[in-house]
Point group: C2
Chain length 314, copies 2
């Protein structure tokens, strides 16, 4: 299922992007690394692009989508777990205490993920995530989360692929959760998704079960580590939106090849959300300073994007 | 780097295979899963094929190729490690005690791998492996190891790819060692190689270093576990040659899709080697019995293959 987006009028491969320095930086980079007579030419096998997911490819406010999924699973499993009524963080979920939920630590969320996502087989888990995604609606936009993917970024992924890049998602979210929609939504096959993972355990019956044990937390330094293991090559194009992406950007920057690090800056409260340095979700502080200091392009959602979402309404 | 092999006379996609039940089983399976009107049709995104490497795609006798590489590295590093002169297993390597080397345990080899392969960056390690592969010669055939890949299996990988399969290598060997030659030799890009791995450690300078710590031993049950993590889908085609491949074969067999498990049986002492139940390298006992009991095709190298190696001489 490679997703194909028909480009807009003329030959503009990025029709949802306003003309300006960000779009220009992207197109200049692609031209430089693909022209065979360019001093910056990069052979096709080395054209690796890695994209963060939450906040880079789809909306992550008011909460990470996988977090909302986990909360719904906690509610569904609650009748079998009466002890959750009085135990945090489950209590906050069951009482829909939004203030408490918004301030959960990543460890608390990870604990819940391990509890409710373990014990299943891979296809079973991916199927459950797909069912949930088909029904769930975003509280502000009242539409599916998979329609709240950023249209300009879909165009960018297609543009890179059509220039010989292999596009990977490298997410702090759970690898199998992202795989539940990556093919249909992004045209990224499951094997091109890298993310946080639980341990799998093989049984002699041929069954493979997800254990309640974290295998890899794929954020910050974990991202380049996972890239080395999974992809085997330093990316030359990295897109992200938070400090959790800075390590993979530095990894691209310290290679011997030309590279482009691209940062999504959410400063469009009217159409989407505005958050950066103090945000609980998708905090962007150090990476923003480093991008500005080093001249990495920073996407201004309000200025650079004609439209935001793939659903076409905004 | 996609490798293209010109098919032989007519339209036979497997010209180095003799006609017979094994070749027929492969072609029947591919026809069944790719015909849209077949009850066994498998959508293209689910056509995942996984190949073991040592003994399935290239020669593994008299010793695993990576083992020979490690021994050569031990010899090169010996002047910096005088203590190795009296310590096993290094002593056996330095004295070229072939009897002792042939009986090293996998743990002893793994220990040496950790010692000599750690501390480098990924590109540096892959570069060292490539340099070694360019120079090293097989003791019996006196040619490069990368020319001692099985020509019939190269044709098989091409045939599967031309029928919409994505082809992966799932090796008990080190993932970065296999990546050093997978693209040029097999047409398998680095990101489609799964294997045993050391831990990577990210440093704030953007450098990523291989640690002397095993991350995953990708053999037996580790193979389906790695497939779930890396590929995210159960394979429908598995090729292997030893008991270490049985778990991934059972994993394919317990899915809901049609599948083909294919076993390479080395019984051609004249052109290659003959070994199975009692072999130290590539032991094949349980998987051979299970393949025969369940009707999985078993490749007889002497009967099924017109020629063995890609170098064309044998
Ligand atoms: Ca993010
Ligand atoms: Ca093998």
């Amino acid at each position: 299922g490679e997703r194909v987006i028909t480009a807009g009028v003329g030959c503009d491969p990025l029709p949802s992007w306003n003309d300006g320095p960000t779009k220009q930086a992207i197109m200049d980079f692609v031209a430089r690394v693909t022209a065979e007579d360019s001093p910056d030419f990069v052979p096709v096998e080395e054209r690796i692009a890695t994209f963060d997911n939450d906040g880079t490819l789809w909306v992550e406010q008011p909460l990470y989508v996988q977090g909302i999924f986990v909360f719904d699973q906690v509610r569904a499993l609650a009748p079998e777990h009466p002890e959750w009524q009085e135990r945090q963080p489950y209590k906050a979920v069951l009482e829909n205490d939004t203030a408490a939920l918004a301030s959960l630590s990543e460890e608390q969320i990870a604990d819940m993920v391990l509890t409710v996502h373990a014990g299943t087989e891979q296809e079973e888990f991916i199927g459950a995530a797909r069912e949930w995604l088909a029904e769930a609606r975003h509280p502000r936009y009242n539409t599916s989360y998979t329609r709240l993917v950023y249209r300009p970024m879909l165009e960018l992924m297609d543009y890179l692929r059509s220039n010989g890049f292999r596009v990977f998602i490298v997410s702090g979210g759970g690898v199998d959760f992202v795989r539940a929609f990556s093919e249909e939504t992004y045209g990224v096959p499951r094997e091109n998704v890298v993310g946080s993972s639980l341990e799998y355990e093989y049984g002699a019956d041929g069954r493979l079960t997800r254990l309640a044990k974290l295998s890899k937390y794929d954020d910050a330094g974990g991202k380049p580590e996972s890239i080395a293991l999974h992809i085997g090559r330093r990316p030359i194009f990295v897109a992200g939106n938070s400090d959790g992406d800075l390590a993979m950007m530095r990894y691209a920057a310290t290679g011997s090849r030309p590279y482009l690090n691209l940062l999504v800056h959410h400063e469009d409260a009217r159409r989407e959300y505005a958050y950066d340095r103090e945000s609980h979700v998708g905090r962007l502080r150090e990476a923003l300073d480093e991008a500005r200091a080093l001249g990495w392009p920073v996407i201004s959602m309000s200025q650079d994007w004609k439209r935001i979402f793939d659903d076409g309404t905004i």
